[in-house]
Symmetry: C2
Subunit: 349 residues, 2 copies
């Protein structure tokens, strides 16, 4: 579909120029406050611009300058709590630096992710912040981005094999800490409910989990380590199975609060109690974690902060480039996440 807005006529610098009898170029300079224009003219121009209700056309300027002041974001789901918080952070920072934000969602599919990237390139964005979809296993589209000299910043769900700025949580470390916390509460048979296996964030969390058990000298039956059960429903079903089995876990560490919710239902369903019989630790510190019964221990990923810092990489780089255009090192930032201990894992008073 291709649509023509019935546009009367947009006021341009030419209109301003004509009205006060100067050249359009002078108007541009005046509006941009260049030193080569006298204050007298600047005042005139600004007044007339206001009078005519002039609005700068960023698209036109963009074309000429080769810069759009546009930042693109691609996430699996706009309305997942974690991502919407990150986006809020990004937006805040962009606003501070007078940049605009274009947001696309991949819907967890690879095709739409690629399309989103293409779209952002078409829009001539200056920077792309991306968190990969579940399906994404190749990175030609990322290469496409850097090939066109667009800054690329991957966050949370990243492809580590692809060189770019990367910003993630200290997933392994915090997972280790969380599981140690469970151990300290006397839980011994701690099961793991993970996400899609190839996603680094989940791999890391699993590593941390395994490390904690190892350091405690605990052996876990293989059935207790399950991948791809981050959805509530699947977690519920799997938890029921395990708890009914002949070697039931006495605690769950999971990579998502939604999974934790499913586990909680399963526990209640079987007439067990949390935290007395079975402990739970979730991940993401969703709003609902402090509203559940019992309240849920979870991991605060500092999502807003991640958004702030991710975009800050880009803006900082701008400042650097102004001084030193050759600067191009890739940063990898790790955001410290914390275990928020609530009732679901506290059985020692």
């Amino acid at each position: 579909m291709n649509v023509q807005r019935s546009k009367e006529k947009r006021i341009t610098i030419h209109d301003i120029a004509r009205e006060i009898g100067i050249a359009p170029s002078s108007v541009s300079k005046a509006l941009n406050n260049l030193p080569t224009i006298s204050d007298r003219i600047k005042v005139l121009v600004r007044a007339k611009a206001k009078e005519l209700n002039y609005v700068h056309n960023s698209g036109a300027a963009n074309l000429r300058k080769g810069t759009s002041q546009l930042v693109g974001v691609v996430v699996p789901r706009i309305n997942a709590a974690f991502f919407s918080d990150v986006i809020a952070g990004i937006e805040e920072k962009c606003f501070e630096y007078n940049h605009r934000l274009i947001i696309c969602q991949s819907d967890e599919t690879f095709v739409r992710e690629v399309q989103a990237v293409e779209t952002l390139i078409q829009q001539n964005v200056d920077c792309i912040l991306i968190s990969l979809s579940k399906e994404t296993k190749t990175n030609l589209h990322l290469k496409e981005i850097v090939d066109r000299n667009i800054e690329l910043i991957q966050f949370d769900r990243v492809d580590e094999s692809f060189k770019s700025h990367i910003i993630v949580n200290d997933n392994e470390k915090v997972a280790l800490k969380a599981v140690k916390h469970l151990l300290s509460q006397g839980y011994k048979q701690i099961a793991y409910f993970g996400g899609a296996e190839h996603i680094p964030a989940y791999k890391e969390r699993k590593k941390g989990y395994l490390a904690a058990l190892k350091s405690a000298g605990i052996n876990i039956p293989y059935q207790h380590v399950v991948d791809d059960v981050s959805q509530k429903e699947r977690a519920y079903i799997t938890a029921i199975e395990l708890l009914k089995g002949n070697n039931p876990p006495d605690a769950f560490f999971t990579v998502s609060d939604h999974a934790a919710l499913g586990i909680l239902s399963a526990i209640k369903e079987l007439g067990l109690k949390t935290p007395e019989d079975v402990g739970i630790v979730g991940f993401a510190n969703e709003t609902f974690t402090e509203a559940t019964c019992p309240t849920l221990t979870s991991i605060d990923q500092q999502s807003r902060k991640m958004g702030l810092m991710a975009s800050d990489i880009f803006f900082k780089k701008f400042r650097e480039k102004e001084k030193q255009p050759s600067l191009r090192k890739q940063e990898t930032l790790v955001i410290k996440s914390t275990v928020v201990i609530r009732a679901s894992s506290s059985r020692k008073k």
Copy 2:
């Protein structure tokens, strides 16, 4: 800040034209699949475009065509569950119609809302979807939008006095229904916890609440009808006060689930029980409503659907305009919301 991307050189239609020895205009026509170009050339052009890794520059096309295929959204908070769901709906529809989405948040302040609108005008968006901030009491910035022939669609938090497309929930009706539900459960002293008074959505909900009480012939002490307590903290404090007073309510109808959360804490704090002693109905059907203890009765606003329908107004209009450019009637759509009955308000089995 003003930044220059170190751009090697973007491949343009001129490059394609030069390589195969035809005119740039022909390349444009070929890529746009105009009938005035032979298939032979079209094939050549497409092949060469792929070979050179050409990407269309929407900004340039936008400038020439006067259309950006861009849709702007302004919301108080990107990461509030309701808004992020609406945005997800909008994004889905935009994707379907091959439009891009620019998102701004007003942070509930009027200044930033005005800036956001200005920004979107600068970007030459074809349509603006807006939900007003708490502070917004004037509408010059909305006038600004329609004056520039940009489609304006207000949703949820709207200024009814300003003529535009409007899409809202059936707030009054559903509030009435919710309060009647409370009455049916035997609650009599039902308090109201509202939001900022001048926002129509809240006004409507209050109207529905009052209507339900009136139709039941119930008189409510004025202290039980409180505005501007949609935040969790404030709701908590106010609920404690009321419950400790000498005419305590036996139920709360509130315009926000967060307020409901605060009320729930207050009730627990005072050693009372929900739903036995005090009933609660929230609003928005946030994720956590089914995780609380007891689960929270709430109102499902169908936020995603609101997003879909809101943007659809715009796209439908496009189709109409193509046939009949004079068409310009303003639609007001009402989305039916439903009461989701859960434990917090069910004391009759």
